[in-house]
C-alpha cells in the first residue's frame, strides 16, 4: 500500500520586497492507494500549491509530506501531474508528448513505442498520433495529457483543474472518461477543482479548503454508488452541504480582504 500523508504542511511565499504571505497553514491529509480525492476550494486557497508540493515541484516551508513512508524532496517516479490545457509541448507530436516521460528517462525506443501505442489506443487517439497539439480540440488535448500520465503506470495522478478550460459538454465527457480510466487502472487520483458538482460526481472524498491562509476546513466522504448522476437523490444533499461550506468561506475571505484593504489604507 502506497500511502500519501501530509503532516502539518505549511507554505509561506516571500516576495522580493521581504513581504511574506502565508499561503497554506497546518494542512494534514492522508490519501490511501486507489482513492479518488477531490480538493475543493475557492480561488487562491493554495490548493494548486499543495498539489505541487505533493508532486515534489515546490518545497514545503513547514511540516512534511511522506510518500510510501519516505519524505518527498523532489519529483517522485510514479507521481505525475496533469495541468489545465496548454501543458502539452506544442513542438512535439501527440505520440512524442505521450512518450516524453519515457524518453527523458531513457526507456529504449521499442519499449517506448509499445507503451505509447497501448495508451494512445486506450484514449482513442491512435489516428492522431502524428498530429500536433494545436490541431486538436480541447478535449483531445486533455486526453493526450491523461495518456502522458497513464503511460508511466503511475501510482498517483495529480490533476490541477484539468477540465476547467473545457466547455460544458466536453467537460461531462471527460469526467466520464476519467472515471472509466480510474476504474480500469485504479491509480490514486488527487483532483483539484473549484467545481462542486465535479467534486461530488468524481470523488470518494472531498477535501474542502478555505482561503487566506489555505487550510482544510472539512472532509466529506461521498457515499454514493457509481456511476453517479447529478440527478440522483443523494447528490443534491452533498451539493447543498458543500455549497454552504464554500459560500461561508468565500464570504469570510471577502470580509477579510475588505478589512485588510481598510487597514492597509489606514
Amino acid at each position: 500500500m502506497k500511502t500519501l500523508s501530509c503532516q502539518h504542511v505549511g507554505k509561506v511565499w516571500m516576495s522580493p520586497g521581504g513581504l511574506s504571505v502565508q499561503a497554506l497553514k497546518d494542512v494534514s491529509l492522508t490519501v490511501q492507494q486507489g482513492e479518488f480525492v477531490a480538493i475543493l476550494g475557492p480561488t487562491g486557497c493554495g490548493k494548486s500549491t499543495l498539489l505541487e508540493m505533493i508532486a515534489g515541484l515546490e518545497p514545503t516551508t513547514s511540516g512534511r509530506i511522506l510518500f510510501d513512508g519516505k519524505q518527498v524532496t523532489g519529483p517522485e517516479p510514479g507521481v505525475v501531474m496533469v495541468f489545465q490545457e496548454h501543458s502539452l509541448f506544442p513542438w512535439l507530436s501527440v505520440r512524442d508528448n505521450v512518450g516524453f516521460g519515457l524518453s527523458v528517462k531513457r526507456v529504449v525506443s521499442a519499449e517506448r513505442e509499445r507503451r505509447v501505442d497501448q495508451v494512445i489506443d486506450r484514449v482513442r487517439l491512435t489516428r492522431f498520433g502524428r498530429h500536433r497539439p494545436h490541431q486538436l480540440s480541447g478535449g483531445m488535448k486533455q486526453r493526450v495529457a491523461i495518456a502522458r500520465a497513464l503511460v508511466e503506470n503511475p501510482d498517483f495522478i495529480m490533476m490541477d483543474e484539468p477540465f476547467a478550460a473545457l466547455d460544458f459538454q466536453t467537460r461531462v465527457l471527460m469526467q466520464r472518461f476519467l472515471l472509466e480510466i480510474w476504474l480500469e487502472f485504479r491509480p490514486t487520483i488527487i483532483f483539484v477543482t473549484h467545481h462542486i458538482d465535479e467534486a461530488v460526481l468524481l470523488a470518494d472524498r472531498v477535501v474542502v479548503m478555505s482561503a487566506g491562509p489555505g487550510r482544510i476546513i472539512e472532509e466529506v466522504r461521498i457515499d454514493l454508488a457509481r456511476p453517479r448522476r447529478m440527478t440522483d437523490s443523494g447528490f443534491n444533499d452533498y451539493r447543498a452541504r458543500l455549497t454552504e461550506l464554500m459560500e461561508c468561506e468565500v464570504m469570510r475571505a471577502y470580509a477579510e480582504d475588505d478589512a485588510g484593504a481598510i487597514s492597509d489604507a489606514g
Binding site: E52, A55, G56, L57, P75, P77, V79, V80, M81, F83, Q84, H86, S87, F89, P90, W91, F100, G101, V104, K105, R132, P133, H134, Q135, R148, E152, M158
Partner: protein, 282 residues
C-alpha cells in the same frame, strides 16, 4: 475568399466551398501582390515613352533590363568586373552566413546567461551597451580586423544581430510557460533536460522572429560594406554605376537588392512556418 484566412485548417468550413475553389488561394495572393508592381512599372514605362526628360536619370525597367542582357550580365572592367548572378549570390550568402552564425551564437549565449542570475546580471548590461551600435558602424572595425573579404561581411552581420538576439533570447527564456517546465520536471526531466528539451525549443520561434525583423538592417549593412570596402557583390554594383555615371546600372543594382532581399526574407518566413511552426500554433 477572404485573403489568407483560407490557409487555416478548418477555414473551409466557414467559406463557401464551391466559390473558394475557382481560384487557388496561392494564385489569388500572387495576383494581389503583382498588380501594384505592374501598375508602378506601367506608369514608369509610359512616362519614359511619352518623352519624360527624367528618364535619362531614372531609366525604366525595359531600359536597364535590356542593358543587362546586352552586356551579357557582366558589368565593370578589369579587376572590378563581375557577373550579376555572382554578385547576387555573394551578397545573399554573406548575409545568410552572418545571420546563421549570429542566431546560433545568440541562442546559446542567451540560454547560458539565463542559467545563472548572477551571470545574467553581470553580462546583460554589457550586451545592452553593445546592442544599440548599428551594424553599419561595425564596418570600419571589421575591415581593420579581417581585411577586405567575406569574413568582414559576415562579421558585420553577426555584430548587427548577435547582441539583440541574445537579449531577446534572455527575455524569451523568462517568459516560457511555467506549466511546461513543471510538467517536464514531474515526468522526471533533469535540470539539463529541462533546458534542452523544454526551454530551448520554447524560445526558438520568438528569437527567430527577432532575427527576421533584424534581417533588413543586416542586409543594408552587407551592401554598405560592399560599397565601401569589399569591391564586389550587389553593393559594389551600385557604386560601379555611380563611378561610371551609368544610371541603368544603378537602378539595375537597386532592383536586384530589393528582389534578393525580398527572396531571403521569404526564405526566412518559410523556415519560420515549416521548421519553427509552433509559435503561430499557440
Amino acid at each position: 475568399m477572404q485573403g489568407t484566412g483560407s490557409l487555416e485548417p478548418g477555414a473551409a468550413l466557414d467559406a463557401a466551398p464551391e466559390r473558394a475553389r475557382v481560384v487557388p488561394s496561392w494564385a489569388a495572393a500572387l495576383l494581389k501582390a503583382l498588380v501594384p508592381w505592374a501598375a508602378i512599372i506601367a506608369v514608369w514605362e509610359a512616362a519614359a515613352l511619352a518623352g519624360w526628360s527624367g528618364a535619362v536619370l531614372f531609366p525604366p525597367p525595359s531600359a536597364f533590363i535590356a542593358f543587362a542582357i546586352q552586356s551579357d550580365f557582366r558589368v565593370g572592367f578589369g579587376r572590378e568586373s563581375m557577373t550579376i548572378p555572382v554578385a547576387i549570390v555573394a551578397s545573399a550568402l554573406r548575409v545568410l552566413a552572418g545571420l546563421a552564425v549570429g542566431f546560433v551564437a545568440a541562442v546559446v549565449t542567451g540560454i547560458l546567461i539565463s542559467t545563472s542570475k548572477t551571470v545574467s546580471d553581470m553580462v546583460l548590461p554589457v550586451i545592452r551597451g553593445l546592442a544599440p551600435i548599428a551594424p553599419i558602424a561595425w564596418i570600419p572595425l571589421g575591415i581593420v580586423l579581417f581585411g577586405i573579404g567575406n569574413p568582414t561581411a559576415v562579421f558585420v552581420v553577426f555584430m548587427g544581430v548577435y547582441f539583440i538576439l541574445t537579449i531577446s533570447t534572455v527575455a524569451a527564456v523568462n517568459t516560457v510557460d511555467r506549466r511546461l517546465i513543471k510538467t517536464a520536471r514531474s515526468y522526471g526531466a533533469s535540470k539539463s533536460q529541462v533546458w534542452t528539451r523544454v526551454i530551448f525549443p520554447a524560445v526558438l520561434p520568438e528569437v527567430f522572429t527577432m532575427l527576421r525583423i533584424n534581417f533588413f538592417a543586416a542586409w543594408m549593412a552587407v551592401l554598405a560594406a560592399e560599397m565601401v570596402g569589399l569591391k564586389n557583390g550587389l553593393g559594389m554594383m551600385i557604386i560601379l554605376g555611380r563611378e561610371m555615371f551609368n544610371t541603368k546600372l544603378i537602378l539595375l543594382g537597386m532592383c536586384m537588392v530589393g528582389a534578393t532581399g525580398y527572396l531571403v526574407d521569404a526564405l526566412l518566413v518559410q523556415i519560420q512556418r515549416k521548421v519553427l511552426w509552433w509559435q503561430q500554433a499557440r
